[in-house]
């Protein structure tokens, strides 16, 4: 089946999305939820609970998006390689050069 590269990409995308969303939900809900308890510690001269909600979580969101971009671009590059390989393997008539033109 020529669709397998696509199926694999989508499975990995969904896995990545799930992990990133769990991180996002964890930080944004747990941070404020336990803010009162966290406030008994200090970070950078702030009460910790306040710092998480005012600065920490924002930086974490940014980091999650950067990881998302980095990983998705890696997955998509891998998909392109796999898909090109599948096309070569499945090249039915002798139209070989077709796959070679895809390299950027």
């Amino acid at each position: 089946m020529p669709r397998t590269a696509e199926v694999r990409l989508w499975a990995r995308t969904r896995g990545l999305a799930l992990v990133l969303l769990l991180l996002w939900l964890g930080i944004s809900v747990a941070g404020p939820w336990f803010a009162r308890e966290l406030n008994s510690w200090q970070v950078f001269g702030f009460p910790a609970g306040y710092w998480v909600a005012a600065q920490g979580a924002l930086l974490a969101f940014l980091a999650i998006i950067v990881v998302c971009i980095w990983q998705m671009e890696r997955l998509e590059a891998r998909y392109e390689a796999e898909s090109a390989a599948e096309h070569l393997a499945a090249a039915v008539p002798p139209a070989g050069p077709d796959a070679a033109t895809e390299a950027p």
Partner: protein
């Protein structure tokens, strides 16, 4: 090329600031400085709009799909940050402390949802609008129409507020009337959207972001240097927070403050009595005021006192409804000021209204505040990821990959401002608690007089205990002036105030531009042409959209001129509505092949319905309009406020979408092919 142009723009703007600083030093009158800032910035935006004029369809609707990721990020940031973000957020943080951070978290966390779930896939789909996607993915007219109507409704409420903000700032900057201010600002908006559509709006927004971020960071850094000697406000934030905490403990034990609080409670009781018989109290008040003026004149009291009494007489309520509203406001203000620290919770204390270790009522208040914080934050996040005017911005990049990258740029630029907002709130509070509270009344700084004369709802002081000193409990500061007055509160020169106002104007105008375009495009592209004129060519589509831009802008300006003050309630509500209408249908459209038309329409309608019903039952303004008398305890679920209705509506809409989809036939092969196409990069496919 683009970089050099914006570099020149920044240099020019810096030169303008420098020239104004010099002009103030040389003694140019204040109104001139304000007017120059207003007119030059609006002219610059209009100039960019004029240079980018176009009638080409792809240029008009999606800026030709060639905006680089970073510039789309800048434009999205300006599009996103509205007058409310710029002016309001720091004010809310000043007044509500930790509770205000729900907005900061909600308005940034939503971008994670955009990057992971939506932006790249919508870009890969192509086309021009969000309803386009709903229409193609689910087929038929209904999903597109529900989507277009929801987009118009949500964006229109938001647009009216922006234009209201434009009027407020323009009149503050120049002393023009509010209405004239609206129309000057509107001129700037219209030149962009009308002549050049998305293309002009994009490139103007990039410039507007630069103006607004400078306008926020310059006074903040200045205050930080002044207060702590540090050039990094984000770090001095912590030190000042600790200073405030100390001062808060002192003030909450101060005998004079406690005395003022007691007097505020008495005042509140008086207003409660007044509210029982508004009509006769009105007459009595008017009589009392005239007698007071006569007495003052007879005593040859200082002119200031006579004028103050006369102003009070002139501004007395004229109708019973006005009087009732006024007394109600006074009652609420007195009640708030009767609490410790004038009703402001300790800045760094989360959910300060209750105590988990306290008695049952106190622990319940703590839990309810915590639930509301999380609920509001989640609504704002899902709403952020579903606001049509933001989603359209991701149609303008070159590729899906660029769209994903531009989400990161957007959040980076947005985070700069949202890291600054709590910091500014803390610096202003430090200034007020340490340098304003305790001043003798006859030595109050000039900004106190100026703002209280402008509008007593924004600022008022009153020596309740007659000791001649200002107590915190005697000072009322409205949320809307914290940012605008921050430079004056910190004693910075007047040109900084003008810079801040110009930044607020940039924030309001850029958001208004994006919204206006979204509304006009939904009406023309998604409703008019699908329903009435499907065969129209590209040119007439663009012309129709331009005409609608004019009509919608005028309508919104008329609405804003009514000055509906309660409209702010609707803004937060707009996020819940956007989340309920779009979020499940968009995400499931991409991530669940089995979702079909019946499911999507049912889900959207159910989500919107739940949202609207919850608001009708719980939003104070809707309750009084509809005559809802059931106590809030019975109409609220888990004590969650009406503005966070989305936290129930989204899961419910999702559930309905899934159940109805499963109960009806699966979508056809065509739709499945479309979804498959969205999920993989376009290049190497067969």
């Amino acid at each position: 090329m683009i970089g050099r142009r914006y570099g020149l723009f920044l240099l020019g703007f810096a030169a303008l600031i420098g020239a104004m600083a010099l002009a103030e030093h040389k003694g140019l009158p204040r109104t001139w400085i304000g007017a120059v800032f207003l007119l030059v910035t609006v002219a610059l935006y209009a100039g960019i709009g004029f240079l980018c004029r176009t009638s080409d369809e792809a240029e008009y609707f999606v800026a030709g799909r060639k905006v680089p990721a970073m510039y789309n990020g800048l434009a999205t940031a300006a599009d996103w940050m509205s007058a409310a973000s710029f002016i309001g957020t720091a004010g809310v943080l000043y007044l509500q402390g930790f509770a205000g951070l729900a907005y900061i978290l909600g308005w940034t966390g939503g971008y994670v949802l955009l990057a992971v779930l939506l932006a790249p896939y919508l870009r890969r789909f192509g086309q021009y609008t969000v309803p386009d996607f709903l229409g193609a993915r689910y087929g038929g007219l209904a999903p597109r129409m529900v989507g277009a109507l929801a987009a118009v409704a949500v964006s229109f409420v938001y647009l009216v507020v922006q234009i209201y903000g434009v009027g407020l700032i323009a009149s503050h900057l120049t002393g023009f009337g509010f209405d004239l201010g609206i129309f000057v600002g509107l001129g700037g908006v219209l030149v962009c959207s009308f002549l050049g559509g998305m293309r002009a709006v994009t490139w103007t927004q990039v410039a507007q972001y630069m103006v607004l971020i400078l306008a926020y960071l310059v006074p903040l850094t200045w205050l930080s240097v002044q207060q702590t000697g540090s050039l990094l406000p984000a770090l001095s934030h912590g030190t000042q927070l600790m200073q405030i905490a100390k001062r808060e403990t002192e003030l909450s034990r101060d005998p004079a403050e406690l005395d003022v609080a007691r007097r505020q409670r008495q005042l509140a009781d008086q207003y409660e009595l007044k509210l029982r018989d508004v009509r006769s109290v009105m007459a009595a008040d008017a009589q009392r005021l005239t007698r007071q003026i006569e007495a003052l004149r007879a005593q040859r009291a200082p002119l200031v006192q006579v004028q103050r009494a006369e102003r009070e007489y002139l501004h007395r309520p004229r109708t019973e409804a006005q009087a009732r509203l006024r007394y109600q406001q006074e009652l609420e203000r007195a009640r708030a000021h009767a609490l410790p620290l004038a009703g402001m919770p300790a800045q760094a204390q989360p959910f300060a209204g209750g105590d988990p270790q306290g008695d049952a009522a106190s622990a319940a208040r703590y839990r309810s505040e915590r639930n509301n914080f999380v609920a509001l934050m989640l609504c704002l996040m899902m709403g952020t990821a579903a606001m049509p005017h933001v989603l359209t911005r991701f149609f303008t990049t070159r590729s899906a990959r660029e769209a994903r990258r531009s989400v990161a740029w957007s959040l980076l630029f947005i985070t700069l401002l949202y890291l600054a907002a709590p910091t500014l709130a803390v610096m202003v509070k430090y200034e007020v608690l340490n340098h304003v509270v305790g001043l003798p009344f006859d030595q109050l700084p000039q900004w106190v007089t100026r703002w209280s004369r402008l509008d007593a709802n924004l600022l008022s002081v009153r020596d309740l205990n007659g000791d001649g000193l200002l107590q915190l409990g005697e000072l009322h500061l409205g949320a809307d002036i914290i940012v605008l007055a921050a430079p004056e509160i910190g004693g910075l020169p007047y040109w900084v105030s003008c810079l801040v106002a110009a930044g607020g104007l940039a924030a309001a105008l850029s958001t208004a531009d994006g919204l206006l375009l979204t509304i006009a495009n939904s009406l023309s592209h998604d409703i008019y042409f699908r329903l009435f004129n499907p065969g129209a060519n590209a040119v007439s589509r663009v012309i129709a959209s331009k005409m609608l831009v004019m009509v919608v802008a005028l309508l919104a300006a008329l609405m804003a001129a009514l000055r509906l003050t309660d409209i702010l309630q609707f803004v937060s509500a707009a996020f819940s509505l956007a989340a309920a209408a779009f979020f499940p249908a968009l995400v499931m459209g991409i991530f669940w092949r089995r979702a079909n038309r019946a499911g999507a329409v049912a889900g959207m309608v159910a989500g919107l319905g739940v949202c609207l019903a919850y608001m009708a039952l719980n939003l104070p303004i809707a309750r009084s309009l509809l005559g809802v008398t059931l106590p809030l305890a019975q109409t609220q679920w888990w004590g969650v406020d009406a503005i966070a209705a989305g936290v129930f509506a989204v899961p419910l809409g999702l559930l309905v979408l899934v159940v109805v989809s499963l109960a009806t036939a699966a979508p056809g092969a065509e739709v499945r092919a479309l979804v498959d196409r969205l999920r993989v990069p376009e290049r190497p496919a067969s």
